[in-house]
Symmetry: C2
Subunit: 392 residues, 2 copies
DNA sequence: GCGGCAGGCGCAAGCGCTTGCGGTCCTTTT
DNA sequence: AAAAGGACCGCAAGCGCTTGCGCCTGCCGC
């Protein structure tokens, strides 16, 4: 029953294969009556068209590929979830390619692995080299990106620079002036742009606040818990302590919390910590952070790609920015505030709702510097109040 | 250059398309010299065969599908990582299908979504109903499963019953007799077997130790942090407190730790907690747990499936058990031991290496009850010593 | 030196679908 | 009422590859 061919359906319905084909895909040209008969026959035979054959005949593969540098880290898994949903609902297949290690990536785009195989490609967090861009364009299918962008392709990503600035500005507004940075991968095996941008945002915020840069305050954490831990230890080992730390990812912030706790520093009484991403565990740690809706980004970029592949003329390139918001929780506090009760990082209270939150000012506001900062200040305060968790 | 056809290659090489086809896939029947010429021509044209065409001609799709109930939870993402690697290295494509909600699952297997589309299917953690099994068999392709098993298909999974028993036995051996259980999904939307089995293991271990069952000690946690938190609160709210808790997943154990800390109970001085899975965060929380190598399970099952699809005669059904091991960390202690220093759940020390660990006795040792228990006891002690973390 | 054998190679027939083109037949339009 | 126009439908030619089957060499054995 699974192997019925279009001809059998045609015979059963008493029509030609052409009509079967046409009715089943409801392109026009078939009367309602015939369509109905065909439908019934197909149903009866459990018929579904062979993808291989129709691909060959139409030249369209009905398949999209998503290419990611990692599958297991939260960000990527979450994104994949959003993408998969949209793609499935569009009736397309999704191929997953993981460029885990540098060797796999090496030559991946020029190898014909994607050629004639997909109608569209989704690139995640991959900053492309020139030859890679060329190879992709040679594929002659729509390409969308998330997390990074290049001129030629549609993309969606957060504004890492602005968002990182928002995070640091939050600390500045709390009175901090000695702010450490824990950044991601120092050597960029995958050409990540994220650490670069978030660092730029950090420096920009400091500069805007008139705080001189101090390179000793910038350490590397490798985007992992352990890395954040070690980076923090390094930060604590040198001269004057920072009063606040901005970690470029929540995972590294977790590591920082652990390191701080180990040496007996209390958060946020002695030192404030802010992360980035709003990892599911961040709420657990009551970590102040920059939140982004990763799944939604996945959905959006997938929709964009789906739309692009289904329109014969090339779709217009659209480079979107996804919003971020500052989520103030319990790991940041006003500098020098009297210590509250004994610090406890892990859930001595819960954050019930979302509280008042804030769309980061990352669209169409470039270069409006000082006023933005002032406004930001006010916003932070409001959020903080709105966010104040209830005791459970 | 990307759209070269086999005929063009043939012309350039001065041979027939047949010879091109044969040389490029090195089936025999072509002289070395010709093969060489063809290779060169193909190279020059950047030729790669159209998958659609060869699929149609051969009837093989070169594609595998992995069907999972979730993509974003750590376990599934990790598994997918292992599977993807093997499948890619085998030169096959991987389709990912997420049966996130019950509606999506409803009728998924009977809908022709997989029909004529894949050479093999990988089912993750899905307990199948009879009609679903039938629909899968009707696909007439190899099917492998991980996390659950049925008679007809190859599979790999841990022995949830034995492993849960090991966890609880560990607590028993530490002197605990009042042991709470936080179990997974009570209503089984996806027909999970995991919570059922782990609970069976829990009960079996208690029974083996002569401890009477107490249904009040069994609460539901939904496999989430929050669920574990709430379940623990529930557990604490009723009569005599347990002295130890077995959570069926690490996430729920994290929630339990939070709940305990909130009410001021110290772990492990006042109460011991053991989890299950060895989630990456478990080390961070210094959580004693049952460890399984999820990625490796993914690799193995993928290898099995790859082997099955590439052999024309049906591959033999093999139902494997993956090993688990008890990893003793800092959240479990001897009942009534004098309190150690002030408890601190979040990383006041690190666990540097793996320490001495233990293959759970889940292969070929069924029914060897008491001796196993005795041995287990000894082993536990040794592990505990070997595992003792160093201060950093 | 001749029959036979086998390795190399090309022919052509598909694989199962889609689609341009034309043929019917039934409505409209004039 | 005749002609023009549609609406429907089938024919057949592909889509680009694989593969069974013959043919043609060259080479071996007797």
């Amino acid at each position: 029953m699974a192997k019925a061919t279009i001809e059998e359906v045609a015979n059963l319905a008493g029509v030609s294969p052409s009509s079967v084909s046409r009715s089943l895909r409801d392109v026009g040209g078939v009367s309602a009556k015939t369509t109905e008969r065909v439908r019934a026959a197909a149903e009866q035979l459990g018929y579904s068209a062979s993808p291989a054959a129709s691909r060959l005949a139409t030249g369209r593969t009905g398949t999209l590929a998503i290419v990611m540098p990692n599958l297991t880290r939260w960000f990527f898994a979450e994104l994949l979830g959003g993408v998969e949903q949209v793609v499935r609902e569009a009736g397309l297949d999704l191929l997953v390619h993981n460029l885990g290690d540098t060797e796999t990536r090496q030559g991946y785009f020029s190898s014909g692995l994607l050629r004639k195989r997909v109608d569209g490609v989704l690139l995640v967090t991959l900053a492309l080299t020139e030859p890679e861009i060329d190879a992709l364009m040679a594929l002659d299918v729509p390409v969308c990106m998330v997390g990074t962008d290049v001129e030629s392709f549609s993309s969606i990503r957060i504004d890492d620079v602005q968002s990182a600035s928002t995070a640091v500005r939050h600390l500045v507004n709390l009175g901090h002036r000695r702010i450490g940075l824990i950044s991601g991968a120092p050597d960029e095996p995958m050409h990540y742009t994220v650490p670069v941008h978030r660092r730029l945002g950090y420096r920009a915020a400091l500069e805007a606040a008139g705080i001189p840069a101090d390179r000793d305050l910038e350490v590397h954490g490798d985007f992992t818990i352990r890395g954040g831990d070690e980076a923090t230890t390094q930060l604590l080992g040198q001269g004057e302590l920072p009063t606040a730390i901005f970690a470029e990812s929540d995972e590294m912030a977790f590591g920082a919390l652990r390191a701080l706790r180990r040496v007996g520093l209390q958060v946020p009484a002695d030192i404030s910590v802010i992360g980035f991403d709003d990892h599911p565990m961040a709420e657990y740690f009551d970590l102040t952070t920059i939140s982004q809706d990763v799944r939604e980004q996945g959905r959006q970029v997938a929709q964009q790609l789906v739309a692009a592949v289904s329109r014969p003329d090339g779709a217009p390139v659209r480079r979107l920015h996804a919003p971020t918001r500052l989520v103030v929780r319990g790991t940041t506090a006003v500098l020098g505030a009297e210590p509250r009760r004994a610090p406890s990082l892990a859930g001595n209270r819960t954050v019930p709702g979302q509280g008042a939150q804030h769309q980061s000012p990352d669209k169409g506001r470039r270069g409006s510097g000082p006023p933005a900062l002032a406004r930001q200040s006010a916003t932070d305060q409001k959020e903080r109040r709105g966010q104040r968790p209830l005791a459970t």
